[in-house]
Amino acid sequence: MNRSTHRESQKGLLIDFTKCIGCEACMEGCREANDLAQPSPGDPPARELGADNFTVVVPREVDGKEVFIRRLCMHCADPACVSACPVGALTKRPDGAVSYDGDLCFGCRYCMVACPFSVPRYQWDSNAPVVRKCTLCYPRLDEGQEPACAAACPTGATRFGPRETLLEIARERIRKHPDLYVDHIFGEKEVGGGSILMISPVDFAQLGFPASMTHNPLPELTWAVQKRIPSIVVTGTVFLGGLYWVVNRRMERARDAEDAREVEDARGAER
């Protein structure tokens, strides 16, 4: 919708899997900044996104090589969830963050179905549940701070900045070290691109990311149909009205003819 207007203002994160050491400082920073429930001591670290885990670090082994990946909301440029929400509880902000207003939400969970990355989570055990996901720490962005995960990362594996700058950095790293990286910036083009960019030493499909995603924004798929609603309403009404009129007129004519015949017969009988 306003993708192009805000292209310059969009911020984002560049996540470089080659630099991630799996320390989970980002997860901790995230929990603190977003007031998420702390895991009970002794629990194994979360490996799945959850209502209280907006991001997770997941170790993956590919060809004997250990790679740490991060999962979080991709903050798409033209998000499926934003287009899906019937009440507009989800919005794409000019700074790139996809934000969510739990007061508007009535809980249809269509955003969860629509998200191509299956990111949004729900509070299944709550009596007034809301959708939960990474916010790109937009309250922090408003205060001029960077997202908590980027601030917490000790190795620079997660880096905050304007999306365009991050894209240049990512391209530069891949160009300089083709031996270290696969030539793919995940999030640059997937479903139209987003604010979160990832680069990796191995193929993204091998790390469990969706393979061969379309490069077109998903909302266009729905809009191609939705935009026809007015013409369907007009055409349908005219067609049905016309059909009724034609059929009804034909029946009336038949009845008129019948009436005329009855009158004739009656006259004939009088004579």
Partner: protein, 396 residues
């Protein structure tokens, strides 16, 4: 015709009634549990499977199963085939109750039902769910107005009756247009999921397929409900009329299947149908349930027999439900890595809601002119209406 069944007190307690009582009691308990403890305590839903039986069956299938209301209105009141006059009111009653069931099912399933009115004031016209919400609201209102004459007639309220009669045709047309939008919009919901929904079901023609499968099942439901009310409400069965309606069902079904097969061929995904995967088995079952009835419906001998005709309509109804379950549940599981089987409370509540609808249908059939009144009285009203129309149409 409707012999009012005598209420024999000694026969009040029957095994059937006890079963009904148990189902209702369970339904009440699950209702309390749902609103006291939330969805987690009453369903097997998860972050990987956010839509389960309640959405797939009660809501998405429920809307399609209510399609008889608009197909019969179209056939009789717009296209003027008055042979089927007597089937319109039961179909409208079924549709009305079906939509009420959908709404109640929705209130159970959505996380914050007290916020449902937000759809009225916070608009996002890009959302297919927004269209769904508005279609539910508007068409339920239209169905109420289409149903109301049965109540007004029963209590002899002639003044409001005249008003509804006056707007009857615009009302039917509005209902048909809204149904077209609503049935197809449920398919539009899944247009956003190209990477998630299995290729046997994902196509950009989903809205079209949802619409034509709904038209098909609309006829099947009208027939099925005739069979069921002849059995349970001890009504006569107009088998010849249903056999004739079976031809419409046959043509709707074959048209839908041609669309479906053509789409699968165009996308080149037939290979997926025979891999033996869970998806392929569910797909083949669904296709079989839509195909086998054709052999009955296109046989002029079988179509005129009670049991085959009953089975044909039943198969199409089950096939439709399976299709909707496949799209909203089965076809989604692989990509999200989730697993799901409804728990007993989800199943029980669905049975409970269907039972409630059936009981209300039975009550309405007993106390309202659902089956009987479309006789000479109505024909007279129709003639009156048409003379009015004639005087307006011919001032010259």
């Amino acid at each position: 015709m409707p012999s009012i069944a005598g209420m024999d007190v000694r026969k009040l307690i029957t095994p059937g009634r006890i079963a009904i009582g148990i189902i209702i009691l369970g339904g009440v308990i699950i209702t309390l549990r749902r609103f006291a403890f939330g969805l987690g305590a009453t369903t097997n839903l998860s972050d990987q499977v956010p839509w389960g039986l309640w959405i797939s069956f009660d809501v998405i299938s429920g809307v399609a199963l209510a399609a008889g209301g608009f197909t019969m209105a179209l056939l009789v009141h717009i296209a003027g085939d008055h042979t089927y006059r007597g089937l319109v009111r039961p179909a409208i009653l079924t549709a009305f109750l079906g939509y009420l069931l959908v709404i109640v099912g929705l209130l159970f399933d959505i996380g914050k039902p007290w916020n449902i009115w937000h759809a009225i004031i916070y608009w996002n016209h890009h959302s297919a769910m927004f269209e769904v919400a508005w279609c539910v609201m508007l068409y339920t209102t239209v169905l109420l107005l289409e149903f109301l004459p049965m109540v007004l007639e029963r209590f002899g309220l002639h003044a409001p009756m005249r008003i509804i009669r006056a707007i009857q045709i615009p009302l039917f047309i509005t209902g048909i247009v809204l149904s077209t939008l609503h049935q197809s919009s449920l398919g539009s919901l899944f247009l956003l999921t190209p990477g998630k929904l299995h290729p046997l079901w994902y196509t950009r023609y989903l809205p079209l397929l949802f619409f034509f499968s709904a038209v098909t099942v609309g006829f099947a439901m009208v027939m099925l409900e005739s069979f069921l009310s002849s059995k349970f409400l001890r009504r006569g069965l107009e088998l010849r009329l249903l056999a004739r309606l079976g031809r419409y069902l046959a043509f709707a079904d074959i048209f839908y299947l041609i669309l479906r097969i053509q789409d699968l061929t165009r996308r080149g995904v037939w290979g997926e149908a025979f891999t033996g995967s869970t998806e392929s088995i569910f797909f083949l079952a669904e296709m079989a349930l839509f195909t086998v009835p054709l052999f009955i419906l296109f046989s002029s001998r079988l179509r005129r027999q009670r049991t085959p005709l009953f089975l044909a309509s039943l198969m199409i109804v089950i096939g439709l439900v399976l299709n909707r379950l496949n799209i909203s549940l089965v076809g989604m599981l692989r990509s999200t890595g989730g697993s799901y089987l409804p728990n007993w409370q989800e199943i029980w509540l669905s049975v409970f809601l269907v039972l409630c609808a059936a009981l209300v249908f039975g009550l309405a059939a007993r106390f309202l002119p659902v089956f009987s009144a479309e006789g000479p009285r109505d024909a007279g009203a129709g003639a009156k209406r048409s003379t009015d129309g004639a005087s307006q149409a011919a001032p010259a």
